[in-house]
Every structure is written in structure tokens, then in C-alpha cells.
């Protein structure tokens, strides 16, 4: 049986760097049931033995306020489902900032597990002339302390040895921890006894450490979790709290005890220069968070990031599209015509392409985010933008995910991992798809260039430009109240503290950055990709079947007639192409999608749509850009048309409704655009929401609320503009 060691530390202490250094390439990520944090494990080889390392999310304290934070406590207590009980704890601390880092260590001390402390960033501490006496520290803390520099890997072998030794020994070195006021110690013991006596009602034993946190954390997650099965717990524990601190702050008692302990240890083991010198990091911050300079640099960085995902990814995506397309053609040429060919080319290869095409944007954005995070700029970006987002109940950390979503919601949603608060993170994920992404642009381009006159208004504004701007604004205008309402209802809670450490700037390490990017890309392909692929195949089937033989036969007959009629060369090819296009249109009309379109016609009538637009909208639920090819097919132009296609534009001007009126006019075009602006027609986005929230409920909710808003908004737009007489503008 391998020993298991939990790795834990404050955010930004270099835990990821150290974890990679200890485990090499042998680590993997998975998830814990019901929460949004990843489960990261790796194997460490030392002296021929293997030790399993579990990387816990970075945290400042064990006072859990959400299920995500509770994971750490549950793993330490050995009560996390699917996780081995741990044999020892490896605490990673930042040597340049011992005071705050030791707060968590003081909590870990109380778990009665063997403890090793990795004193990281010793290079920086040396530079700042912070002298740490590891021996004294070790004695005071009752734990092995090893000086390391995770970045240069100095001290790593020694650390490995120490971990192995401690995990084997199972020695906890007695209790070295803060001392608490007597009434607290007494009441915790009494509470533990009482919870033990009520074990049957609670349904399980409550360990001492959990009872301790239950008492101290009013409204904490432990209390909420126990109250689910045993509602009386709140009243019960409140009596204990009142005996410890009548109306006073329990948190203050805890913090005071811990910091007293910390001050004593630091006084004994650490010597620092008396005056704080201005570090390079401080000087950089003088520019990067400066009122004017900082804002300019921020806008420049955001412009580059946005430009990169919006346009630099384009050629790569086209390349992937084209390669997949020619591969499909090549395979298609080798298969006999019929269902199998269609399934392989349009279903399977098309589905794989639908996954891979997102990779350039994901890789580019993740590259920027990992870089900005690794060097410490991410926290500054949040600092600069916080006020703007705090108006709708979010924090500055939501800015980059939101901005990125204008290029594509998928990397944007993946970027929410940098948001510390769970409710903020989920709110951001839920509104990110409202930002107009680049896949909506072809739809806007087609409809605007076809129906909106290129008039100049107010002297200098182009009407087409105004409509495009309005579509982009629509998403933001809806996102603000939605975020605000979500934070007041479904994701209600106290305003989360916006206490954000601004870490020292560091030169980014390419190794770590590239590994993160690779990991995220791979995860997208494996986890979200399978769902996207499955959806693509289902959609193919809905558009293909039943594929009635009678239709095929009818068009075969037409083809035979043309071939016999004596036309030659280009003319023949063109005539045959027309028949093929008409056949595709007839099949689509008869397909399940076509039937759904006809069935929902009454529902989309108020939007000014007929069954063909309804069907095209339904067919583009998995991926909105599909609408153009679908319109091309249904209007017998073939599926290869794009938003620049003149024949498609012409057709849109002339197609008629069943009653003979024109199908498309300005109100219809506007209502389609608004629908596309607000609807979540993207299976990949939903798959990524499922992946990031680790739940099916959130993607279902996103889909439902966005579809509802989109429907209502486009109905309003149509009904209002048609009454304004815009339907008659040519």
C-alpha cells in the first residue's frame, strides 16, 4: 500500500511548481463529486518506494464557507469519498511571507498528522535578507522544515527524503500549536461529547477538528452541511458559542491566538532588515497599477489578448476547418454514396472538426492567462477592474473571462478558474455565453449586409455599423441584470470578501505555463469533446433521417432525364448540381429537423419566422454558425454557401412565405439576429459549463434562461419594428 501525502498551502506559494518538481510527469487531474475544484494527484518516487501526492486547492485558512473549500478539510480528515485517508501533510510556505503563511500551518498542526514544511522561495528571502533559522523553526513548529527553491529545484531531493521519512514514521511530534482561552478549549470538548452522544441523529461521528470549526465558524459550511440532516444543530452549537464569546467575535479569538503563536515563532526563528526596502516588484507596481500608466498598460494588454483570440486564431481555425474538410472529401471519395458516407463525412469527421476547431482560441487564451497569472499580473487586473464589476455583484476577477467570451465563450468559461469565489465564478460562467462571440459574427454579417441599408445617419455613423454595435451591446445589456439577479436569487449569499493578495511579480516559467496550456487543451478535447462529438452525430442523424427512398428516386429520375437530354459540359454539370441541391433541400424538408420546424411554426410565428427559419434555428442549436449552411440547403443553393455568398443574399431577398409575401424583411432579420445574440446555441459551451461546474443542472439552466430571454426579446423586436412599418422598407 502506498503512503498518501496531502500537499497544501496558500495561493501563489509555488505549490504547482513544487508539485510538478516532485511528481515529474506522472500526475493527472480528475474531479471530486459535486464541486468545481479539480482533484490533482501524482506519484513521487523516493528510495525505490512510491508515495502518492494529493494536491489540494490553495487556501489561506481551513474555515470552509463553500463545498469547494470543504474538500480540503474532508481530505485532511480522511472523510472525502473516493480519497485515501492521508498519512502525512506537506505544507508549502512562502519564506518571504512567513507570518501569514503560518496561519494555515497553525491550523494544520491540529490535525494530528505528521507534518513536513517546505520553506519555498528561499532565493527571494535571501535576496531580501530575511534570515530564517530552520532548526529553531522546526523545533517550535514540531515539524520537519526544509529550505527549497521549487523554481530552481534546490532542496527538492532533501524534501523528498523528509516526506518519505515522516510518512513512514507516523510521528506527530506531540501537539505544537496555539493555546486558546480556556473556555474555548472546554466548550469544544463539551461540544464534541454532545455531538458524539447524538451520533445516531447526525448519522455519523463528528471528529474533534470538525467540531472545533463548527463552533468557530458561524454560518460556515460545516454547520450548513450538518443542518441538512439535523436542523437542530444550529441552535445547539449557538449555545456553546455564546458561552465562549457572548456576542463577541469568535473569529477574533481564533485569529488572536494563532497570530500570538506565530509572532512568538517568528521572533525566535526569523531575522529581517528593520526597514522594508522597496523591492523591484514594488517599482513595477508603481507603473502597472498607476492611475494613468496602469490603465493604459491594462488596455494595451487586453487589446493584445483580445486581438489574439479574435483574429490570430482565425487562420489556424480556417486551417483546421480546411484540413478536416479535405480529409472528409478524401474519405468520402473512397466510400460508396449513401448513409455510411454521410455518417462518416458529415457526422463523425464533421463532429471531430467541431471539437478541434475551438483549440486555437483555447490554446491562445490559456497561454495569455497562464502567463499573466504566473507573473502575478492577474491579481492586478482584478484590482484595476473591480469597481466596474462590483456594480453587478461580481468582482474584478470576472473581467478577463468576460472579455475573452467576446471571442469565444469556451476559453472564457475555462478562464473563470482564476475566480476565487464559487458563486462569483458560477455567475460569470452563466452570463459569459451572452457576450457576442465570433461565431455570431457570420450571422450578423449575412443579415446586416443583406437587409440593412448602408446609409449614413447623424452625419458620420454607418447604419450597418450601428446595428452590429447594437447586437454586441444586447448581450452586455442583458448580462448585467442577469448577473445582478442571479447574485440576488440562485447564487445569493453575503457579498464575498474581495481580499486579494497582490503577489510579488515573478518572471514566468515557460515549463509551467506550457504544461498548464497543454493540460487545459487536452482536458477540453477529452472531457468536453466527447459531448460535443456526440451532439454532432445526433444532429447529423436528425438532419439525415428518414432519407426517404421515394425522394431519392424522384431526383434520380430527373438526373437521368437531364443526362439524356443532350446538354454537355459545364451546362450539364450545372444542371446536375441544381438537381443535387434541390434533392438536399427536399431531404432536409422531410427530415426530422424539417418536421420539427413545421411543428414549431406556430411558436415562431410571433417572431416573424416561418418553419424554414425555425428549422434553421433549431438545427443551429448545437453550433450557431450552422444556420448559414442550413439556409443554403433549404433554399436549394447547396450547403457550401457562406455569409459572403451573393446567391444566398439574393435568395433571401426573394423567397416567399406560403401566402406569397416576402419571407425576409428588416424586422425578420432583426429578430433573427437578436435571437442569435441572446440564445445559447452552442453545444460546446454547454459541454464546457458541465465540465467546469461539474453538474448538469447549470448547463440546463443556462440553456433554458437564454432561450427564454432570446425568444421574448426577438418577439418584442419583431412586433415593435413591424408596427413601426419597417417591414415595408426595401
Amino acid at each position: 500500500m502506498h503512503k498518501t501525502v496531502a500537499v497544501i498551502g496558500n495561493p501563489n506559494v509555488g505549490k504547482t511548481t513544487l508539485f510538478n518538481a516532485l511528481t515529474g510527469l506522472s500526475n493527472s487531474t480528475g474531479n471530486y463529486p459535486g464541486v468545481t475544484v479539480d482533484r490533482k494527484v501524482g506519484a513521487m518516487r523516493v528510495n525505490g518506494a512510491t508515495i502518492d501526492l494529493v494536491d489540494l486547492p490553495g487556501t489561506y485558512s481551513l474555515a470552509a464557507r463553500s463545498p469547494d473549500e470543504m474538500i480540503v478539510v474532508d481530505v485532511l480528515l480522511g472523510q472525502q469519498a473516493g480519497e485515501q485517508p492521508i498519512d502525512a501533510i506537506l505544507a508549502v510556505v512562502d519564506a518571504t511571507n512567513l507570518e501569514r503563511n503560518l496561519y494555515l500551518v497553525s491550523q494544520l498542526r491540529e490535525f494530528n498528522k505528521p507534518l513536513v514544511i517546505a520553506l519555498n522561495m528561499c532565493d527571494l528571502a535571501d535576496k531580501r535578507e530575511i534570515k530564517i533559522d530552520t532548526e529553531t523553526l522546526s523545533k517550535e513548529l514540531g515539524a520537519e522544515v526544509v529550505r527549497i527553491c521549487a523554481r530552481s529545484r534546490a532542496g527538492i531531493d532533501e524534501l523528498r527524503g523528509a516526506i518519505a521519512e515522516v510518512a513512514e514514521s507516523a510521528s506527530t511530534n506531540g501537539i505544537h500549536g496555539p493555546s486558546y482561552p480556556e473556555e474555548l478549549t472546554r466548550e469544544v470538548a463539551a461540544l464534541e461529547t454532545e455531538l458524539g452522544a447524538r451520533r445516531d441523529k447526525i448519522g455519523r461521528a463528528v471528529p474533534k477538528q470538525e467540531a472545533f470549526r463548527l463552533l468557530l465558524d458561524r454560518d460556515g459550511y460545516i454547520e450548513k452541511r450538518l443542518a441538512r440532516g439535523y436542523p437542530e444543530v444550529t441552535q445547539l452549537v449557538e449555545a456553546y458559542r455564546n458561552r465562549v464569546a457572548h456576542n463577541g467575535s469568535l473569529a477574533a479569538i481564533e485569529a488572536k491566538s494563532r497570530y500570538t503563536w506565530i509572532r512568538k515563532i517568528v521572533a525566535a526563528g526569523v531575522r529581517k532588515p528593520a526597514t522594508r526596502t522597496r523591492t523591484t516588484s514594488d517599482k513595477i507596481d508603481g507603473v502597472l497599477t498607476h492611475k494613468l500608466g496602469g490603465t493604459v498598460v491594462f488596455i494595451l494588454i487586453m487589446a493584445v489578448v483580445f486581438q489574439a483570440i479574435f483574429s490570430w486564431a482565425g487562420p489556424l481555425m480556417d486551417l483546421i476547418d480546411a484540413s478536416i474538410g479535405s480529409f472528409g472529401d478524401w474519405i468520402g471519395g473512397r466510400l460508396p454514396e449513401g448513409m455510411l458516407q454521410s455518417l462518416v463525412v458529415d457526422g463523425i469527421i464533421g463532429g471531430v472538426g467541431g471539437v478541434l476547431v475551438f483549440l486555437p482560441q483555447i490554446v491562445i487564451l490559456m497561454l495569455f492567462i497562464s502567463l499573466l497569472e504566473d507573473c502575478g499580473y492577474m491579481a492586478r487586473a482584478a484590482f484595476l477592474m473591480d469597481k466596474l464589476l462590483s456594480r453587478c455583484g461580481l468582482s474584478g476577477q470576472s473581467f478577463i473571462p468576460m472579455l475573452s467570451s467576446f471571442a469565444c465563450a469556451i476559453p472564457g468559461i475555462m478562464a473563470t478558474r482564476t475566480i476565487g469565489n464559487r458563486r462569483d465564478r458560477i455567475t460569470t460562467i452563466l452570463v459569459a455565453p451572452l457576450m457576442s462571440c465570433s461565431a455570431r459574427l457570420p450571422v450578423y454579417t449575412l443579415l446586416i449586409s443583406t437587409f440593412i441599408p448602408a446609409k449614413t445617419v447623424l452625419g458620420f455613423l454607418n447604419l450597418q455599423g450601428i446595428v452590429l454595435f447594437a447586437m454586441y451591446s444586447a448581450g452586455i445589456l442583458v448580462a448585467i441584470p442577469v448577473a445582478w439577479i442571479l447574485k440576488k436569487t440562485l447564487l445569493k449569499g453575503d457579498t464575498p470578501p474581495f481580499l486579494l493578495e497582490l503577489p510579488t511579480y515573478k518572471v514566468p516559467q515557460w515549463g509551467v505555463v506550457l504544461r498548464k496550456v497543454y493540460g487545459q487543451g487536452k482536458e477540453f478535447v477529452v472531457r468536453a469533446g466527447t459531448i460535443i462529438f456526440a451532439v454532432a452525430v445526433v444532429v447529423w442523424a436528425l438532419a439525415y433521417f428518414p432519407h426517404a427512398d421515394s425522394i431519392t428516386q424522384k431526383f434520380d429520375a430527373e438526373r437521368a432525364q437531364i443526362e439524356q437530354s443532350g446538354v454537355q459540359g459545364d451546362e450539364l454539370a450545372a444542371a446536375l448540381q441544381d438537381v443535387d441541391n434541390a434533392e438536399s433541400s427536399a431531404h432536409l424538408r422531410n427530415s426530422y429537423f424539417g418536421r420539427i420546424g413545421i411543428a414549431i411554426e406556430p411558436a415562431v410565428g410571433p417572431l416573424g419566422w416561418d418553419w424554414r427559419i425555425g428549422m434553421a434555428a433549431i438545427a443551429s442549436f448545437p453550433a450557431r454558425e450552422v444556420i448559414i449552411a442550413t439556409l443554403g440547403t433549404i433554399f436549394s443553393l447547396g450547403g457550401d454557401v457562406d455569409e459572403e455568398s451573393e446567391s444566398l443574399k439574393e435568395t433571401l431577398h426573394t423567397v416567399q412565405r406560403a401566402d406569397g409575401g416576402r419571407l425576409f424583411n428588416i424586422p425578420v432579420a432583426l429578430s433573427i439576429m437578436v435571437f442569435f445574440a441572446l440564445c445559447c446555441q452552442c453545444a460546446a459551451t454547454l459541454a464546457v459549463i458541465k465540465r467546469e461546474t461539474n453538474s448538469y443542472a447549470w448547463p440546463a439552466f443556462t440553456f433554458a434562461y437564454m432561450t427564454t430571454i432570446a425568444y421574448i426579446a426577438s418577439m418584442l423586436v419583431y412586433q415593435i419594428t413591424i408596427r413601426l412599418g419597417w417591414g415595408n422598407i426595401a
Binding site: F383, L388, L499, L502
Partner: protein, 73 residues
């Protein structure tokens, strides 16, 4: 009574009692904003909020509404 949010960039002070008893209160304490600790205000964000302080030797950003919970000794 003076509170942390009233300080200007460059000002230093010593933390007194913390008001309230919620998540913000607890988080402030955990992050080292505790009675007797020295704080120095470094700057305000360009939009006027949040503020950046040095406490326990590191840089911390917090909103003015949160700083208002921190009274000064």
C-alpha cells in the same frame, strides 16, 4: 473613530478592533488584519476603489467597504 478606508496613500496606522461578525470579518482576520498589526496604504485603484495596503509584510487589496470595518488604534 478613524477607520482604514479613511487613510490616504502613504499613511500608516495600527489596527484596532474589527467590526462585524461575518465572512468579511473572519477573512480579514485570517489575512492578518488583526488588532495590533501595522498597516500602510500603498495606493487606490484608478477608479478609486479598491485600495492596496501592506500588512504582515505582504500586499493586500481590499474594497473600501471592507476597510471601513477596520478601526484604527
Amino acid at each position: 473613530m478613524r477607520t482604514l478606508d479613511q487613510l490616504k496613500p502613504g499613511d500608516s496606522a495600527v489596527v484596532g478592533l474589527l467590526k462585524g461578525d461575518g465572512a468579511v470579518h473572519q477573512r480579514l482576520l485570517e489575512m492578518g488584519v488583526i488588532e495590533g498589526a501595522g498597516v500602510e496604504v500603498v495606493r487606490m485603484a484608478p477608479l478609486g476603489d479598491p485600495m492596496e495596503i501592506i500588512v504582515q509584510g505582504y500586499h493586500l487589496s481590499l474594497r473600501k467597504a471592507e476597510a471601513a470595518l477596520v478601526s484604527l488604534a
